[in-house]
Symmetry: C2
Subunit: 164 residues, 2 copies
DNA sequence: ACAATAAAAGATATTTTTGTCTTTTATTCC
DNA sequence: GGAATAAAAGACAAAAATATCTTTTATTGT
């Protein structure tokens, strides 16, 4: 009887975070999904999780979890059963994208310190504070001024992409 | 013999990413450390990992790994042995903070799509593209225009904080 | 009432990031 | 040259984020 050693394991400690984006994957999927569903809602349709996941190129089961959360927080509407699916009512279509982001990623991006200090404050600022504050405010502004339904027409006209 | 059940495990799937900042923890520690060492270098001193970790309030062993990486990439200088430690030479003090960020977090933050599309492009833009591009450019600008030594005087004067 | 459908919920698995501990290597001082 | 020092490297561990699979619940159409 012979011992078969595990194949080369080399867990190289490459030690570069290999994909550090502004938003988490969860949040990226959420935003793409929301725009997709909004577009369909504009056309009066509900959409199933399978179609959404396909169209925005995200893992279906994972996206389901994300939309469940948004649904619990009443940020998106859903109905079960045949002919069911996800959609946005008129009120929800007018919500700012910021609501989605904070539901999923929390509020750190709106208020947190760029260098990771516990609190960002004027009285005890980190070196990047002044510059970082501007950027953070722009992000906040963008997310507050972008309603969920803002890109419906552009999406229908094919001006934007939500996958790849 | 009695069976002792594991204590309540409830791994609540709270499903909010509980701390989504712009930069990774690794990158935050790196930036804080770099500013601290730069200040000391300005005063002609080398600093040991223990002091750095204490002063910027970061886990020592973890920070050591980060500085090792920066050292391998010649972004920071170091000497072993008694009276050794980390420091920046004149050339390094003039490097942009962007070099630190990209060494640690990669280039996604400078070039990536806000919605997580594989490529950000003008010809195939996501809905946030125009607005997001501006923000990304501001981040890039900030990190390129902030040299590692830029805040030395402010730090020495106690204008800025790097911990808590 | 029943079968079919689709989301919600629950449980579990994988991967990445963050963090720690031990051993090795280089440098300085005596 | 030897002891002491401090970073570098290597191996390992814990926590968080990402991802998948199974079971349950609500709704619809027949
Ligand atoms: S204190 Fe760091 S961004 Fe305000
Ligand atoms: S395509 Fe999304 S930011 Fe450019």
């Amino acid at each position: 009887m012979s011992f078969i050693p595990p194949a080369f394991t080399f867990v190289v400690n490459s030690f570069t975070n290999d994909y550090m984006a502004i938003f988490s994957k969860t949040c990226e999927y959420a935003m793409r999904a929301v725009f997709y569903v909004a577009q369909k809602s504009h056309e009066g349709q509900k959409v199933g999780i399978k179609e959404i996941a396909e169209q925005i190129n995200s893992p279906e089961a994972f996206l389901a979890k994300i939309l469940q959360k948004l649904s619990r927080e009443r940020l998106i509407q859903s109905v079960k059963g045949p002919n069911g699916g996800f959609y946005f009512d008129a009120v929800s279509l007018n919500r700012p994208l910021a609501d989605i982001v904070s539901a999923v990623d929390g509020n750190e991006i709106f208020t947190g310190c760029g260098l990771g200090l516990t609190y960002c404050s004027e009285s005890n600022p980190c070196p990047l504070h002044e510059e970082f504050k501007k950027i953070r405010n722009q992000i906040t502004h963008m997310l507050n001024n972008t309603t969920i339904g803002k890109f419906n027409l552009g999406l229908i006209k094919g001006k934007f992409t939500l996958n790849k």
